[in-house]
Symmetry: C2
Subunit: 336 residues, 2 copies
Amino acid sequence: MNDDLILLGHGSGGKLSHQLLDELIIPNLSGVPAAGQNDAALLNIGGVKLAFTTDSYVVDPIFFPGGNIGDLAVNGTVNDLAMMGARPLCLSVGFILEEGFLKSELARIVISMREAADAAGVAIVTGDTKVVPRGKGDRIFINTSGIGAVEHSLSINGAAARVGDKVIVNGCIGDHGIAVLSAREGLEIDSGIKSDSAPLNGLVTELLPLGDALHVLRDPTRGGVATTLKEIALQSGVTVKLSEENLPVNAGVKGVCSILGLDPLYVANEGKLLALVAPERAGEALAIMRRHPLGKDAAVIGEVTESSAGRVVMETMVGGVRGVEMLAGEQLPRIC
Amino acid sequence: MNDDLILLGHGSGGKLSHQLLDELIIPNLSGVPAAGQNDAALLNIGGVKLAFTTDSYVVDPIFFPGGNIGDLAVNGTVNDLAMMGARPLCLSVGFILEEGFLKSELARIVISMREAADAAGVAIVTGDTKVVPRGKGDRIFINTSGIGAVEHSLSINGAAARVGDKVIVNGCIGDHGIAVLSAREGLEIDSGIKSDSAPLNGLVTELLPLGDALHVLRDPTRGGVATTLKEIALQSGVTVKLSEENLPVNAGVKGVCSILGLDPLYVANEGKLLALVAPERAGEALAIMRRHPLGKDAAVIGEVTESSAGRVVMETMVGGVRGVEMLAGEQLPRIC
């Protein structure tokens, strides 16, 4: 295979994405710091601390159970800001439309964006629209970039995990990826699974009073919980041990995954966060989540067991322990 | 024709783009203020004044005389910030790659982005990469969003033109559009025309001491000088009178335009700005531009003649006067 080609897997959020970033993009674009591995960049402008992030959305299909590309583009960027503990303030939106796309569908998407922005309490303040000829795009791609205010002095980032930290997730994993896949394959009626697409900034606001006990926040989107935890383990230089038994997974997602041979640990989420919290405050963190509408199925799914080169292992239901690596190749392309 | 279809012209920056924005996007996305008609949104965050803007780049071909999609994406967003009188600080970058695109070409583009960012004095601080299947994209699309610091208290915007203002352009018009068109049609050797893609923030810094005499700054990209002036005339409720004789146009651009039946007034620029300046300081503004490397061919091309519903007229070389409207349809699709 020609080693010079971009593959679908380079967009998976997994191992190939990291290689492309680490070997090609970051070295050549020296302005991007290694901290680009966090969900947003931190800026200090005139004494005001801001978070700044960008994401492009190319999900296929553009309408799926639980959402569409528009609200996904708002929630995804809101969540990247929230994962820095920032209060999302405003978004930009860039549309790339394919000639022949329907204005009526664009209107539905734009309305969803406004509703999602209202729900998250952010304003969409600037935008751009381009059109490419038929066959040179795929209906609609959306970029959203966002600015948030960092109003705390905590160091919440992927390198801050410490031995003893509990790994908490705010609910069932894999819903978004399986909802999109089901819609793409025409399985939505059978599975009944909806995307979990939601803004997490409200939940993060509730967690911030945990203060220094709140070490890492990260939303497990492309590449799923497995890839996100592996990133954290590598950034922090720790080992994370997961408990398969404690992973919350909806029955429908389990069913589709077992039929298609997918592992929910690698399936994308769009309304989930992983919080790594010092053990003495973990119970409190769990209680905060469970009181929140987006956290009623929250669970402690693992802990940081030792300080060593970044590893993730999982205690399986049958009592064994297996290594967990980043997503290799693409499990589900174009999931966001 | 089905009125529900998105047309290439909706991305032209001209009349159809304005219709789409005014009739579909803005009403449904209520967060976007009418001030979205300026090149960037103005924000006040914690007492710090910022400009925020976004643009997606879909230029075809991606490499053209004088630049490529990468430096274009940096310069274009830097310029949108500069047109608010803001000092560009940092950019985000979002890549949408087509499966099978060459990593070696991506590397060339990324290196150009770094060089352009260095030249403009901005940092690229955050990014995202997506990959779409073969045939669902077109090699590479790039979104850049940018944040700039507004360190003046002037009201530089499209609604600030006043009767008597001189319209000054910093050099020859139409180079970018004709360079891209020539590359697309294989005419580059014949025409010898290069894109004018350049960062205008340095030139704007020189102009800011004009203070209250500096009314409008706008870069005439998609839709060209004609469309941009019509926008300004409408926003300010004035009539702008252009002098065809004084329009600086390179001989090569004139030649290609006359062969292909194009009007340089509607051709995109990527290193040009229009400044509307109070008459008493216009000579000084012109002198500032001519001393700057990006302004040696600067010229006064018109003036604001009366306060009335937004009109642009042009005194032609043969002595007549004709109305100048926004670009209708698409003259040159995918020019940026």
